[in-house]
C-alpha cells in the first residue's frame, strides 16, 4: 500500500546500513541534481569555465615534466614523460579532487543540513561523483595527443573502466568519513589537503613503479591507488600492467574503506544538525 510507504517513523535510533543505502538509492534524482549543482557552481563565472577541467592536470603534468622529465630525467616506461605524468595525474585526480570536495561537502552546505531533510550521504557522494565529467573530458583529450605522439590506445583500452572503480570507492568512503569528522573537528579541513599532497608521492603518479627500489615495491603496491593508476596508464598508453594481486588488494581495501566510511557516517549522521 502506498500509505505504508509514506509512513515515516521518527525515533532516536540509527538507521541500518541497508536502510541507509536504500534511502540513497531512492533519492537518485536528488543525487543527479546535486552533482549537476556541484559542477555548475564550480565553473560559474570563471573566464575559462570548463577549460579548467583540463588545465589542472595539464599544469601539474607540465610542472612534473619540467622537474622530473627534463631536469632530473626520471624514466617513464619508454614513453614521453609528459604523456606518462598527464595520464597519472588524470587518474590521481579522481581521488585528490574528489576527496577534497567530499571532505568539505557537509561543512560547506551546512544550510542544507540545518534546514532540510535528505539522505546526508548524498552530499559527499555527489561531491566525489562530480569529478566524473572532469575525468571523461581530460581522458578524451589525452587520446588524440597520444595518437599524434605515436601511442594510440590499444585493445586494452577497456581496462579504463576497472581502473577507475577502486579510486571512486576509495574517494567516496574516505570522503564520507572525513566529511563527518570535519563537523566536529574543523582542523581536519586544514590537514586533509596536506595529507593528499603527501600521498601523491607515495603513489606512482610522477614516476614508474620499477624506479622504486625492489624492497619498497611491495609496500607501494599495497597503496590502493597504485594498481588503478598503473592500470589506467596501461589501458591508454600500454605501459606495464600492475601485478594482478595488487589490483585485488586495491579493490579489497577500497571496498573496505567505503564500508567503513558509510558505517561511521551512519552512526554520527543524526548529530550533524546539532553540531554544525
Amino acid at each position: 500500500m502506498s500509505q505504508d510507504r509514506n509512513t515515516i517513523r521518527i525515533h532516536a535510533g540509527d538507521p541500518s546500513m541497508l536502510r541507509t543505502i536504500r534511502d540513497v538509492f531512492s533519492s537518485r534524482e536528488l543525487l543527479e541534481v546535486l552533482i549537476f549543482r556541484q559542477i555548475r557552481i564550480r565553473y560559474a563565472q570563471t573566464a575559462f569555465g570548463a577549460f579548467w577541467v583540463v588545465l589542472q592536470p595539464l599544469l601539474a603534468a607540465t610542472l612534473y615534466t619540467l622537474v622530473f622529465g627534463m631536469f632530473v630525467k626520471v624514466a617513464s616506461n619508454g614513453i614521453p614523460y609528459a604523456l606518462f605524468s598527464y595520464a597519472g595525474m588524470v587518474s590521481w585526480s579522481i581521488f585528490s579532487q574528489g576527496f577534497e570536495r567530499a571532505s568539505i561537502s557537509l561543512v560547506q552546505d551546512e544550510r542544507l543540513i540545518t534546514k532540510t531533510y535528505f539522505p546526508r550521504l548524498l552530499l559527499p557522494l555527489s561531491s566525489a561523483l562530480s569529478v566524473l565529467p572532469d575525468l571523461i573530458i581530460s581522458t578524451l583529450l589525452l587520446i588524440p595527443v597520444a595518437v599524434i605522439m605515436g601511442y594510440p590506445p590499444g585493445l586494452d583500452a577497456w581496462m579504463i573502466v576497472p581502473a577507475i572503480v577502486p579510486p571512486f570507492l576509495l574517494t567516496i568512503g574516505s570522503g564520507a568519513l572525513v566529511a563527518s569528522m570535519n563537523i566536529r573537528w574543523r582542523d581536519l579541513r586544514q590537514a586533509a589537503p596536506f595529507v593528499v599532497q603527501m600521498l601523491v608521492w607515495a603513489t606512482p603518479v610522477a614516476y614508474p613503479l620499477d624506479m622504486v627500489p625492489a624492497q619498497w615495491r611491495g609496500l607501494l603496491l599495497l597503496n590502493p591507488m597504485t594498481a588503478p593508476i598503473m592500470l589506467f596508464r596501461h589501458a591508454l598508453l600500454g605501459t606495464p600492467l600492475p601485478p594482478a594481486w595488487s589490483l585485488l588488494v586495491s579493490f579489497g581495501i577500497s571496498f573496505a574503506v567505503l564500508l567503513l566510511g558509510f558505517h561511521v557516517f551512519r552512526r554520527v549522521e543524526k548529530t550533524f544538525a546539532d553540531y554544525i
Binding site: A44, I113, T116, Y117, A273
Partner: protein, 421 residues
Amino acid sequence: MSLPAISVTGLTKRYRIRRSPTGKYGSDLADDAAAFVMNLLKGKLPKAEFDDFWALNGVDFEVEPGQAIGLVGRNGAGKSTLLKLLARVVRPTSGEAILRGRIGSLLEVGTGFHPDLTGRENVFLAGAFLGLKRTEIRARFDEIVEFSEVSKFLDTPVKRYSSGMYTRLAFSVAAHLEADILLVDEVLAVGDSAFQRKCLGKMNDVTKQGRTVVFVSHSMQAVQSLCSRCLWLMGGKVHMDGTARDVADAYFGANSETRTLIHWDDPKTAPGDREFRLARVSMASAGEFTTDEPTTSDALDLAFDFWSLKESNSLTLHAVVLSDEGIPLFRTVATPGQPGGGIAISEGRWRATCRIPSHFLNAGFHRIQLQVARGRHEVFLTLDDLLRFEVREDREDPSWSGHWPGAIQPRLDWKGEKLEG
C-alpha cells in the same frame, strides 16, 4: 481510515551545551587541549562538563488529516525544535513521531538556492530538495514562474535579484509542493506585504485542499488566520492545546507584565546563535531626564546590546514595534553603515540604539520584537516579546484632546495654501 496524520508520543530533545574548561565561550580545540594538559599536571582527571538543555521535554499530541495546527510560544519554548524534529532535520533524544503522508518542509525560504545559479536552475534545485520529482517540477514550472512574478529574470543568477524577487521565487517553488503534510516555519515573515498576503492566501488554499499543516509563527495573527487549532509550548512542553482563538487570548493574557529592561549575563545561555547573542534590551525616554514611563511627547531610545561572536560579522537588526495584541505596527531597520546595520563588525559587545521620535507612537501598551538578519535581509533569528511598556497620554500638552484613534499618531508636516478665489 482515520489514522492521525501526525502522532507524537513522549518526544524529547536534549542539547548538550559544552561547558568548556577554560570558561571562555567558543574556545577552540587548542584551548581545550591546553586546559586538559594543565588539569592532568595538577593530577585532576577531566570530567565531562556538559550542561543539559531540554529543548523538548516530553511532548504528546495528534493531528488529524487535513487539520492546520499552529505552534506558538516564547523563544526557547521548543516550537522550532519540534518542527525540526518533524522535518527530520534533527533527531530526537527519545520518544517517537509517526507521520503518515508525503512531507514537505519549509523551514526557510530558498533552501537549496545557490546565488551563482540562474532562477530557472534554482527552481529545479529547490524543487528537488523539497522532494519534488523532476517531472513534477517540469509540469508545474510555468505555474511556479507565473506565481513568482519574476519570469523576466529567469536566466539571471539569483544573486543579482533583489531580496524581494528572491523570496518570491523561492516561496513559489515551495507553494507548489505536492505534500500531504506541510511543515512551515515563519517563512512568511519575509517579503513585501502584497506578496505575503498572496502567500497566506496560497497557504489557506492548501489547508482547504485537506492537507495537514503544522505552522510555527511569532505572529498570533497569522496563526489565527490559518489554523483552527493551536499548541502553546512552554519550557519544552505543551502548555495549552485548544482553538487558535482561545490560545491567543490566554497567550496575551499571560504576557502582560511591564518590562522596560531585560538582560542576560552569560553569552552561552543568552538567546541567539553561534554568531549573535543578545545581551540587553532597554527602553528609556531620550533627553536629559530619562524615564521608563514615557508619554507620547517623548522621544524613545530602544537600545539593543549584543555579543558578536565572530570577526567580520555582518548583522542587521530590525526592531518590530507591536501593539499589545501582537499586531505589528511597524518595523524599522538599523541604518546601513552603522554597527548592527549590516557592516562587518568584530567580535565583542556592541550596542545599537534606535530612536523613536516624539509624537510618533500612540498612547497604549507596546511590545518589542527583535529580528536579526545575516547581511541585510536574511532574518535568521526572531526574539519575541522582549519588552512591554506603556506610552502615556501627555495631558500637559496643550494640544491634547483625549485618546486618538489609530496604531500610531505621528506629527506630520502639513501645509496650507490658497488655490482659488
